[in-house]
Symmetry: C2
C-alpha cells in the first residue's frame, strides 16, 4: 500500500500543478473572484476524481498527459458543487476540508459567483482535451455536462434538499447517492478511458465499476459522519443527525451499512475483470477507499 | 419597422419552440428543478441574444437551423445569470420580466440550483451545434465559456457587486458593461457567424458591432431605470438610484447619456459595412434597440 500512497501523493501534486496552469492567476482582475476560486480549489482535497480519471486512462493503455484536462475539469466541477452546497441557503456549512467555507471568507454573493466561475472554467478546461479516434470534444462535453446537470449532480442535491427532515427509504437514498456521488465518479473513469480511446466494452466495465464504487464511497461517508470527530473529518461531524437527514446508518444501522459498503466494493472489483492486469491500480484505489477508517 | 416586429415575434416563437425541445420536461424527476428551470426560461423575455445569433448567421449566408443550438445555449446562459443576480445575496430583486423572481417562488437554495442547472444545460445544448469547415465544437464551447467566465460575465457581476455605493468613473462603468452585457451580445453574434462558417474578416466586423451595440444597450438600460416605471419595465424601477449604484445617468446626466447611446449605435452601424446588404436585418435590430423609449 505504500506504493499506492506515493502514487496518490504524486498524482495529487501533478493535478495541482496542472490546475495552477488552467486557472487564471490570483492577480487577474477582478482579483477577488480569482482569489476565491483558488482558495476553494487549493484546499488540500483528495483529488479522488482526477486520480480515478488518470488511473482509468492508464487502465486502458492511454497517455496520461491527455487525461490532465478532463481530470482538472472534473475537480473544478466537484469544487463548484461543494461551494454551492455549503451556502447558507443549502447545507449551511462553515467548515470544508478543515478550513472556513468560501462564503464564510468571501461572503455569500461572492461564493455564488465563485461556484459559477468554477463550473464555467470546467468547460473551458475540458474543451482542451485532445480528441481521439473514437471520442470527440462533443462526447467529452456531453459526458460532463449531463453528469453535472439537473437529472444527476444537481438533481441529487435537489432530492437531498427536499429530503431533509423527511424519512427516506433505502431506495430513495440510493437514488440520491447515484445522482450526487456515483455519477461524477463514474464520469471521472469514463472521461479518463475516453482520452485513451477505450473500446466500448472497457468503457462499459468502468461505468459499472464507477457505479458500485460511488455508492460504496457514499455509504462510507455517511458512516464517517456518525463515527468520526469534526477534527478527523475536516468538516462538521454529526451534521446529518443534527438536521435529521436520512443516511445509511440511520436507515440500516451501522453494522449493516458497513456490510453494504463491503458488498458494493466487491461488486466494483468484479466489474474490473475485463480490464485484466492493467486495472490493478484501480483495484488498489477501491480497496483503499473501502479501508478508510469507518 | 412592422416587418422587423414580425421578424422579432416569429424568431422569438421559433426560439421558444427549440428551447422547449432542448429542456427536460417539467415532469422529469426531480420535478421541482425542471419546473423552476422552465419558469425562469419561459418568462416572456425578448430573446435578444438568440435573435442576434440568428441574424448574424443570416448576415454571413448561413442556414439558420444550424444556429438554433447556440441561440438557445446563449439564452440559457443569460437566464442563469439573471436568476443568480436576482438572489438576496446579490441584487436582491423580487421582480423580473414582470413576475416574481425564481427565489421568490422556489426558495433561495432552489434558485441557486436552478441557475446552476441552466448554466450546465447551456453546454449540453451548445455541444449539439454542427461543426463547420472553419469552426469546431471546441471553438463554440470556448467562445461561450470564456464569455460566461470569471473575466467577463461573472467578472462584471463581481465588479458590480463591489462597486455598489462606491463612486465609479466612466471608465470603470465601461469595463463593467463590457463584461456584463457587451461580451455576451458579441458572443451571440460570433456564434451565429461561426455556424455560417464566416470568414475571419466578417467575424471581426461582427465583434466590433457587438461591442458597440452592447455598450449602447446598457447605457439605455441605465436610462430606462431612471425614466420608466416598474410597470413599464417589468422589473423594479429606480433600483439603481435606491442602492446608490453608479450608472451612466448618475455620472454623465441624462442628456449626455442619451448622446452616448446614439454615438455608440452609430459606431456599431459603421462596423457592419464589410457585411454589405446582408447586414440589413442587424442594422434594423440596432436601430430598434436604440429607439426603445428612453
Amino acid at each position: 500500500m505504500s506504493d499506492l500512497k506515493s502514487y496518490l501523493t504524486a498524482t495529487a501534486s501533478r493535478i495541482d500543478a496542472a490546475m495552477d496552469g488552467f486557472l487564471p492567476t490570483a492577480k487577474t482582475r477582478p482579483a477577488t473572484i480569482h482569489s476565491a476560486m483558488r482558495y476553494s480549489v487549493f484546499a488540500g482535497g483528495k483529488r479522488l476524481r482526477p486520480v480515478l480519471c488518470l488511473a482509468a486512462n492508464a487502465a486502458c493503455g492511454g497517455d496520461s498527459e491527455n487525461a490532465l484536462a478532463p481530470a482538472c475539469a472534473l475537480e473544478l466541477m466537484h469544487t463548484y458543487s461543494l461551494v454551492h452546497d455549503d451556502l447558507p441557503a443549502m447545507d449551511d456549512d462553515d467548515l470544508r476540508r478543515g478550513r472556513p467555507t468560501c462564503h464564510k471568507v468571501y461572503g455569500e454573493g461572492m461564493a455564488v459567483l465563485t461556484g459559477d466561475a468554477l463550473l464555467t472554467q470546467a468547460f473551458i478546461v475540458l474543451a482542451q482535451t485532445p480528441e481521439t479516434k473514437r471520442y470527440s470534444t462533443r462526447d467529452f462535453i456531453t459526458e460532463l455536462a449531463e453528469t453535472g446537470g439537473s437529472e444527476k449532480l444537481i438533481g441529487g442535491q435537489v432530492l437531498d434538499l427536499e429530503g431533509e427532515a423527511k424519512p427516506l427509504t433505502k431506495r430513495d437514498l440510493v437514488r440520491i447517492h447515484e445522482a450526487k456521488t456515483a455519477a461524477l465518479l463514474t464520469s471521472s473513469l469514463r472521461l479518463g478511458a475516453m482520452t485513451a480511446n477505450a473500446t466500448p466494452r472497457k468503457l462499459e466495465a468502468l461505468t459499472t465499476f464507477g457505479h458500485h464504487l460511488g455508492l460504496a464511497f457514499q455509504v462510507i461517508d455517511d458512516i464517517l459522519d456518525v463515527t468520526q470527530t469534526t477534527e478527523m473529518l475536516g468538516k462538521t461531524a454529526g451534521k446529518d443527525e443534527a438536521v435529521e437527514k436520512s443516511t445509511y446508518p440511520a436507515i440500516l444501522g451501522l453494522d449493516k451499512s458497513r456490510k453494504e459498503a463491503a458488498r458494493l466494493t466487491k461488486a466494483a472489483m468484479k466489474a474490473l475483470q475485463p480490464l485484466g492486469k492493467k486495472a490493478t491500480r484501480l483495484e488498489q484505489i477501491a480497496t483503499y477507499l473501502l479501508d478508510r477508517e469507518y
